[in-house]
């Protein structure tokens, strides 16, 4: 398992899971909060990856 994308996805999953379970009590709220956090992780990683694409100039 050496794919950066896969590893960051797995990492984001675990972190989102734990934060969602800590922060929310209701199952639906956990799913919503965790899903948004997971999506946020992936989206920000992709955006930052593309922003860094031209570097080093």
């Amino acid at each position: 398992m050496q794919s950066h994308m896969l590893l960051l996805t797995v990492f984001a999953f675990f972190v989102s899971l734990v934060f969602a379970v800590i922060a929310k009590d209701d199952w639906h709220e956990q799913l919503r909060f965790g899903g948004m956090m997971f999506g946020g992780f992936l989206l920000s990683a992709l955006v930052l990856g593309w922003l860094m694409y031209p570097f080093p100039l």
Binding site: M1, Q2, H4, L7, V10, F11, F14, V15, L17, V18, V21, I22, D25
Partner: protein, 130 residues
């Protein structure tokens, strides 16, 4: 003013709860009757820690001359018993040349830190704050 016997018992129980929650991820929540949360932590956090080991991450030594290394060691120990099991079995030497070395470190360190957050959450639940 001296603490009453009831307060001392309560404090002792809280310390025991936090120790259990640290040693076994999710044990604090299971003890407090939050079964589903406890089971998720019990499975998820050791799995994340094991993945860190499988990715050739390193369990950092307590080297006080290198404070970042010492901080990473504290974070690693945050996972509790799985840390000592891994050490005893000879895992966690870290393979710097492995492509996944840094990912492995991130998994190990973050698993420990997340478990410390879980301990704090169990403490809050025990005090009735949540």
């Amino acid at each position: 003013m001296r603490a009453t016997a009831a307060e001392e018992t309560q404090t002792g129980w809280l310390v025991l709860l936090c120790l259990a929650a640290w040693a076994v991820p999710g044990a604090g929540h299971l003890w407090l009757g939050r079964r589903s949360k406890g089971l998720i932590f019990l499975v998820g956090l050791p799995l994340m820690f094991a993945m860190g080991l499988a990715l050739h991450g390193r369990l950092f030594p307590f080297d006080l001359s290198e404070w970042l290394v010492a901080l990473a060691a504290v974070a690693d120990v945050g996972i509790g018993i799985p840390y000592f099991v891994a050490k005893a079995l000879g895992y966690g030497d870290g393979a710097v040349r492995a492509v996944t070395y840094e990912y492995g470190n991130a998994f190990l360190i973050v698993a420990g830190l997340l478990n410390l957050l879980v301990v704090i959450d169990a403490y809050d639940v025990a005090l009735g704050r949540k």
